[in-house]
């Protein structure tokens, strides 16, 4: 079960990889939206975790592009600073959960299982 995490911050990427790996997931970390899009054309992860605020194309852009490729891919949007608009946009383009940074490993894992369970229930 592959999960792709997109963030420009190495510490966040490393944290996510550490937590998810410990939970037994296959994790791929990517540091920009453009790279992530390239990757998504060749891979089919079970979950995509994206940061909102990134240099170049931001997470919301990435989310919109992803939705052009697949409607069904579950996405968790995370952010350390967000406005109402970013939350609204995320919801509109089918993000399953908005995760506030900072988060503990437990919170991240809980969010992931919540999304995956939702998918399984469908």
């Amino acid at each position: 079960m592959k999960i792709i995490v997109v963030d420009d911050e190495k510490i966040v990427l490393d944290s996510c990889r550490k937590v998810l790996t410990s939970e037994g997931f296959d994790v791929e970390i990517i540091s920009s939206s453009d790279e992530a899009l390239k990757k998504l054309k060749i891979e089919e992860p079970v979950l995509l975790i994206i940061d909102v605020k990134m240099p170049g194309h931001d997470g919301i852009y990435l989310l919109k592009e992803v939705r052009k490729i697949t409607k069904s891919l579950p996405v968790i949007v995370m952010s350390g600073y967000h406005t109402k608009e970013t939350i609204n946009e995320s919801t509109r383009f089918g993000a399953s959960i908005f995760l506030y940074k900072p988060f503990t490993p437990e919170e991240l894992i809980a969010a992931i299982y919540k999304v995956i369970k939702k998918e399984e229930n469908k």
Binding site: I11, V12, C16, V19, G80, K84, P102, F103, T104, P105
Partner: protein, 654 residues
């Protein structure tokens, strides 16, 4: 030019002009109406006086007739006269007649027999050879009626020539009017005749004595009239009154002078007077140009002994005597008007300064205020009640402007402070949250290892707690930075309060604190941002719980209340009162400042109340605190009902 224009448009100038206008108006009307009325009154007075004068003149004339008659009477009274007459002693009779003529200034006198033949007469032809019947009308009248007679008679030139050629010359007019040639000129005389009987007043008529004064060119009567009536004027060297005797319409005796200084004998009266007086026999007054001047004149007819109108007696006064009064009046009014004008200018100028100086001062003060100086000099208070009131009103206005500005400056500082903290918070949050994720993740992951010493484990626990604290602070900062956005919807405030209480009630009960909610019935819906208002309530209730000891209670109530600023603005009020420790007065002011907290380090961020304050403000509401140390604290939140509806509509339309 511009200076001139601004001068004439100034209130000061208008004031002076208005007063001037009033002066001119009053002066002008006085001259026109007053002058006219005065002239009328004077004219009436003059006309009345002329009438009296004319009567008096007529009286003088009649007195003269009586005088002639009396003189004749005296002559006949003595026995000597009768003896001489009966004895036909002509020289003695002539002597008596001459004495009579001399003493009484009689122009002609004579004695005729009962048949009318002349016995003797004064003058050159004293004892006529020609004893022909003498046809002097007064003599004829006396013989015919055998009674004495006195009055006015007309004597033809022929008769006068017989009587005395000198008298005949007198009737020749110096400037005889050519048009009058058709009518033979004759003499007008006042005369008397007295029949003499054999036995005093009875018996056979023996003869008639007669005598008279020729009026033509006589000055005696006219000057006597003037003397009698206008003595004062004479003394002052003026000769304003004229008296005139006319034969028919021709002046024969007058003290009216023509322009070359001669008596205006021979001139004629106006046709109008001739018609009214001579032909109609009526009294008349006129204002007319006579010979050389304008006169106010009165005329009376003169009748002869047979009752025929033979002449006119008239008096006149120069009109300018009276019209001068009008000019004097106009002169005085002009002077008064002029004084009025000067007063108007002076009073206008003074009044203008008194009224306008403080006003100009106020205008200048207003300009200063709009330029930013809120403490302008409005000058000393005026003595005028209205102006003083105006000055005071301005002063109050400036004062309240000053206060308002101070307030808004305060608010501006406050919101600037909030905004910059907000920006800072956003930046900090963004930068800190990523590393915090790392810290939290790695410490948690470390803790999962089973091989750790208890000591390391508890150290890691400290790291986690500290990080949680940082997380809380950053979250507070983020909330703080995000308070500009309101997601408004109509909300039942009672329900919102209830759900907020439900969230926190367990925590309160655990501490042994009772929360009572007393909702207002029929509370209107309020448009609010649900989650923000929720956090406000939560924040205040948590503060209340923290401040209250076990056994205390928190009372919450909602009511409908009008705004304290604007009575028309309806709103709702939420009161959250606790029985806690209370807030010392010195802290009340700082309560809503960001980062102000009285909680132990680590327990509060100091942002909660300042965030709440911002949220309530943004809703157009007010948040106030009443507190007493040891007794408790009361938070009052007021939120408007209607005002926010407009904002919502705006949101929908945009």
């Amino acid at each position: 030019m511009r200076k001139f224009l601004s001068m004439i448009s100034s209130t000061h100038f208008k004031l002076v002009i208005s007063l001037l206008g009033i002066s001119f108006l009053v002066g002008g009307i006085s001259i026109i109406i007053g002058g006219h009325l005065l002239y009328k009154a004077v004219l009436k007075e003059a006309t009345d006086r002329i009438r009296l004068d004319l009567n008096a003149a007529h009286g003088v004339y009649n007195t003269q007739i009586k005088y002639v008659k009396g003189a004749l009477n005296i002559t006949t009274l003595g026995e000597g006269f009768r003896n001489s007459l009966f004895k036909n002693n002509i020289p003695d009779l002539l002597d008596r007649l001459n004495r009579l003529a001399q003493n009484a200034e009689i122009d002609f006198a004579g004695i005729v027999g009962s048949d009318g033949s002349v016995l003797c007469r004064i003058g050159p032809n004293s004892i006529p050879e020609d004893k022909r019947k003498y046809e002097n009308p007064i003599v004829m009248y006396a013989i015919k009626n055998e009674q004495q007679i006195a009055g006015t008679v007309v004597l033809s030139e022929k008769l006068l020539k017989i009587e005395n050629p000198e008298l005949a010359n007198k009737i020749r007019l110096p400037q005889q009017n050519v048009q009058k040639e058709t009518e033979p000129i004759a003499g007008l005389a006042i005369a008397a005749a007295m029949p003499i009987f054999e036995n005093r007043n009875s018996g056979k008529l023996y003869g008639v004595i007669y005598g008279g004064i020729l009026l033509n060119q006589s000055t005696s009567i006219v000057d006597a009239v003037r003397k009698t009536l206008f003595l004062d004027d004479m003394q002052q060297g003026q000769s304003t009154l004229t008296a005139t005797i006319f034969y028919k319409d021709i002046r024969i005796a007058t003290n009216l002078f023509n322009p070359n200084g001669k008596r205006a004998i021979g001139t004629i009266v106006s046709p109008e007077v001739k018609q009214r007086v001579l032909l109609d026999g009526k009294y008349c007054t006129i204002q007319d140009f006579i010979v050389s001047d304008r006169y106010i004149a009165g005329y009376d007819p003169i009748e002869d002994i047979e009752g025929k109108r033979v002449g006119i007696i008239g008096v006149g006064v120069i009109e300018s005597n009276y019209s001068n009064v009008r000019y004097k009046f106009i002169f005085i009014v002009v002077i008064i008007t002029f004084i009025g004008i000067i007063s108007a200018v002076v009073i206008g100028y003074i009044l203008g300064h008194r009224i306008l100086d403080p006003l100009n001062r106020l205008i200048k003060a207003s300009q200063e205020v709009s330029a930013g100086n809120l403490t302008p000099d409005i000058g000393t208070l005026s003595h005028d009640r209205e102006i003083r009131f105006l000055q005071k009103t301005f002063k109050d206005m400036f004062e309240s402007l000053k206060q308002q500005r101070a307030e808004s400056e305060n608010q501006l500082v406050q919101s600037e402070k909030l905004a910059s903290i907000g920006r800072l918070a956003a930046g900090v949050a963004h930068e800190i949250n990523n590393p915090l994720t790392g810290v939290l993740t790695y410490t948690h992951m470390l803790l999962r290892r089973k091989d750790l010493d208890q000591e390391i484990r508890s150290d890691l626990q400290v790291v986690i707690e500290s990080t949680e604290r940082v997380r809380k602070i950053v979250k507070g900062l983020l909330d703080f930075s995000r308070q500009t956005e309101l997601d408004l919807e109509p909300i039942d405030l009672n329900r919102l309060v209830k759900s907020t209480i439900a969230l926190i009630e367990n925590q309160a009960l655990l501490k042994g604190i009772q929360i009572d909610f007393n909702p207002a019935s029929e509370l209107p819906m309020v448009t609010l941002d649900r989650s923000q208002m929720n956090s406000v309530l939560l924040n205040i209730i948590i503060n209340a719980i923290d401040a209250t000891e076990t056994g205390g209670h928190i009372d919450i109530l909602t009511t409908v209340e009008l705004s304290t600023d604007d009575a028309a603005q309806k709103g709702v009020k939420i009161v959250i009162a606790d029985t806690g420790s209370g807030i010392p007065p010195e802290n009340l002011d700082k309560l809503f400042d960001p980062f102000f907290t009285t909680k132990e380090v680590g327990k509060g961020t100091g942002l909660g109340l300042s965030v709440s304050y911002g949220i309530v403000k943004r809703h157009g509401g007010l948040i106030r605190v009443q507190s007493e140390v040891g007794k408790g604290t009361k938070f009052l939140i007021w939120l408007p009902i209607e005002k926010k509806m407009e904002v919502i509509n705006e949101n929908y339309s945009s």
